[in-house]
């Protein structure tokens, strides 16, 4: 290689390096903004909550170290609840019981419904775009607005009971004011509100399944339902895991719908009371931020364990 060639290639190399380091700097600046926000509102808040859970505090005076006393409050509450105490004597237990039932209803239903909606939206039929938008609309609407609308719909003389008289004559519960139905009403609203959102995730995953796999199944005698069962569902497994995990996280810390539909006291008999409502009440009504923090950690441990176990068991990448 001649001297001039060598010089040119070195110059190009240094230019490339300069450009690379400039790109790296720009990337760092952009990332640092998000990282800073995350540090303050995410990691610091989480660490502070953990720290706070060992202290008694009233937001104004000095913080007093109380060891595991705040956690004892939780376990006593749980124990009272297990022993059959009323809602107001064991609010955390009630919140836990309700949220587990709510999660058991909402997560499987919204996942299956989202998958079915995606299967419909994935068909080449006229006006499919309208349906896609209709399904997705609740996802971009405020949960508070949705809850308010549904309070109207769920009223004793509301539209849902009006429709029910055609399907199940004589069945017209007072959804919001009857403790036997309140949690189911909240669950129904949640399912309606989230299925469309998860439908989009499933739709994207469905559209990435190669067409020739469906065609092969078709030629091998599989009709639409069997194609859905044997091809679509198994091939959506990674997305199902993702949706269920997100669903579990969202359901276990549900707050907004319960707050609007049941109120901060959880409605009749605490039927709509959730763990997140209880944490809020501890922090801002009872003014026991230490206990609220301890309960938050309990909730975090619950969400972490459930999602970890689920992912560990089912997260098998098939593609």
């Amino acid at each position: 290689m001649s001297k001039s060639h060598l010089f040119l290639s070195q110059k190009m190399k240094s230019l490339l390096e300069k450009r690379k380091s400039r790109e790296a700097l720009e990337a760092l600046i952009l990332i640092s903004v998000v990282t800073c926000l995350n540090m303050v509102f995410g990691y610091f808040a989480a660490a502070f909550a953990f720290y706070l859970s060992f202290f008694k505090w009233d937001y104004i005076g000095p913080m007093e170290f109380v060891g595991l006393k705040n956690f004892m409050v939780i376990f006593k509450d749980l124990w009272r609840g297990i022993s059959g105490a009323y809602f107001f004597q064991a609010p955390f237990y009630t919140g836990l019981k309700n949220i587990l039932l709510y999660t058991a209803i909402v997560v499987p239903t919204q996942t299956i419904l989202a998958m079915i909606l995606a299967a419909f939206a994935n068909q080449k039929i006229k006006g499919v775009q309208f349906y896609k938008v209709s399904y997705f609309l609740p996802a971009v609407t405020s949960p508070v607005i949705i809850a308010l609308i549904f309070i109207w719909l769920f009223m004793k003389q509301g539209y849902i009971n009006y429709m029910l008289q055609f399907v199940a004559p004589g069945f017209a519960p007072d959804w919001i004011n009857d403790k036997s139905y309140l949690l189911y009403a909240i669950a129904l609203v949640a399912i309606w509100g989230t299925s469309g959102h998860f439908m989009v995730s499933f739709l994207a995953a469905m559209q990435s399944i190669p067409r020739d796999i469906y065609e092969a199944a078709m030629l091998e005698g599989a009709g639409p339902i069997r194609r859905f069962i044997y091809i679509t569902v198994p091939m959506l497994k990674p997305m199902i895991v993702y949706v269920v995990v997100l669903g579990l996280i969202g359901a276990l810390q549900m707050f907004d719908l319960a707050w609007v539909m049941a109120g901060s006291n959880g409605g009749p008999g605490g039927a709509g009371y959730t763990m997140a409502l209880d944490i809020y009440n501890e922090a801002f009504i009872n003014l026991r931020p230490g206990v609220a923090a301890a309960k938050s950690i309990f909730l975090f441990a619950l969400i972490f364990s459930v999602t970890y176990v689920f992912q560990k068991k089912y997260k098998v990448m098939v593609r």
Binding site: D212, M218, L219
Partner: protein, 364 residues
């Protein structure tokens, strides 16, 4: 087993006519290859037979059944896709078992058949593996096993060898033909753009272009007696060289006026070509039938080498006679050639093809 018959079939995608009035008969147990360049409609034709596309016009028969309105799930045809389309979430065993399961075959019988087919194709050791754990050749065998396990009436293959490397392709070409034609004797329709595959595997070849069937015949027929310029140019490696010119007659002899050269046409062709005197025609010569020498010989013409491709056993040379159009000839290895060198060429007088320039149809 069944005969497949397409009668005047048309398939349009918007304004594009993918299959244009195709009539084709594939006899029972016949190995038919649909051959043509990309976008010629051969895969669409296959998909129409499978039922994956619906014809806009025409009728498709499989055996005695008119299948136009019959769902692909009920046509009893098996297809091997270019990508193999194996189910990635199922083991090889489950993949092969799938069509039997869909046909509600009892579990024990399914097991027996899967093992039988796996042994037949030499993949019994792979039954517990997933498709991603297999090589291209193994995947292809699994796709074949899945297709033959339920003993379909018709076997459709859409470029099944195109994802394999050259060596494996040659091996599988031979094996496929032996398996489907010689051993199983299933009516097979095989789509490819590779004419070597077509020539070596087919009982009959249907050459397609622009949605139409150009010629149907045995491999030897389409090679020896091409119906038109397209078939003549498409079949054969390297492709046939075409010499365009005006046919003229001088002293009871026919000549092709190539501009700078007057090519003397052998007497054999006189009666066939005589009605075309004065018209523009195209003469085709296969490169293997052009003899190239470094010194002039009797009835040879001058040319200049513009490129060459040594293949080891032989060399393809590209030459011109008037500086514009290129022609190809095959020369034996060891011949001393170089770029821009003057050479002399002559044709095998028995192996000339003539076509109408206006329509491309064969005259002789």
């Amino acid at each position: 087993m069944a005969r497949v018959f397409l009668e005047n079939v048309v398939k349009k995608f918007g304004k594009v006519v993918a299959v244009n009035h195709v009539t084709l008969e594939v006899k029972d147990k016949e190995f038919m290859v649909l051959l043509g360049p990309s976008g010629c409609g051969k895969s669409t034709t296959l998909r129409l037979i499978a039922g994956l596309e619906t014809p806009d016009e025409g009728k498709i028969w499989i055996g005695d059944r008119l299948v136009n309105e019959i769902d692909p799930t009920k046509r009893n045809v098996a297809m091997v896709f270019q990508s193999y389309a194996l189910y990635p979430h199922m083991t090889v065993y489950r993949n092969i078992e799938f069509p039997l399961k869909m046909a509600r075959v009892p579990k024990e019988e399914r097991r027996r058949k899967v093992i039988e087919v796996a042994k037949f194709l030499g993949i019994e050791d792979l039954l517990n593996r997933y498709p991603k754990q297999l090589s291209g050749g193994q995947q292809q065998r699994v796709a074949l096993a899945r297709a033959i396990v339920r003993e379909p009436e018709v076997f459709l293959l859409d470029e099944p060898l195109s994802n394999l490397d050259a060596k494996l392709r040659v091996k599988m070409r031979f094996e496929l033909r032996r398996l489907l034609h010689d051993e199983l004797q299933i009516t097979t329709i095989y789509v490819t753009h590779d004419q070597v595959e077509a020539m070596t595997m087919a009982d009959k070849i249907a050459v397609m272009n622009a949605g139409k069937i150009m010629q149907v015949g045995s491999p030897i027929d389409v090679f020896e007696k091409p119906a038109n310029i397209f078939v003549a140019g498409f079949i054969g490696v390297p492709p046939m060289s075409f010499f365009e010119g005006t046919l003229i007659e001088k002293q009871k002899s026919l000549f092709l006026d190539l501009g700078s050269v007057l090519f003397r046409i052998p007497k054999t062709y006189y009666s066939a070509l005589h009605p075309h005197v004065g018209s523009e025609i195209v003469m085709g010569i296969r490169p293997q039938d052009i003899k190239v020498t470094l010194e002039p010989q009797e009835d040879s013409y001058e040319g200049k080498i513009v490129g060459y491709e040594p293949l080891g056993t032989e060399t393809y040379i590209h030459f011109t006679i008037n500086g514009t159009k290129e022609y190809i000839a095959v020369i034996p290895r060891g011949m001393r050639i170089s770029l821009k060198r003057k050479v002399y060429w002559k044709s095998n007088p028995q192996k000339l093809y003539f076509f109408r320039k206006s329509t491309g149809e064969a005259i002789y």
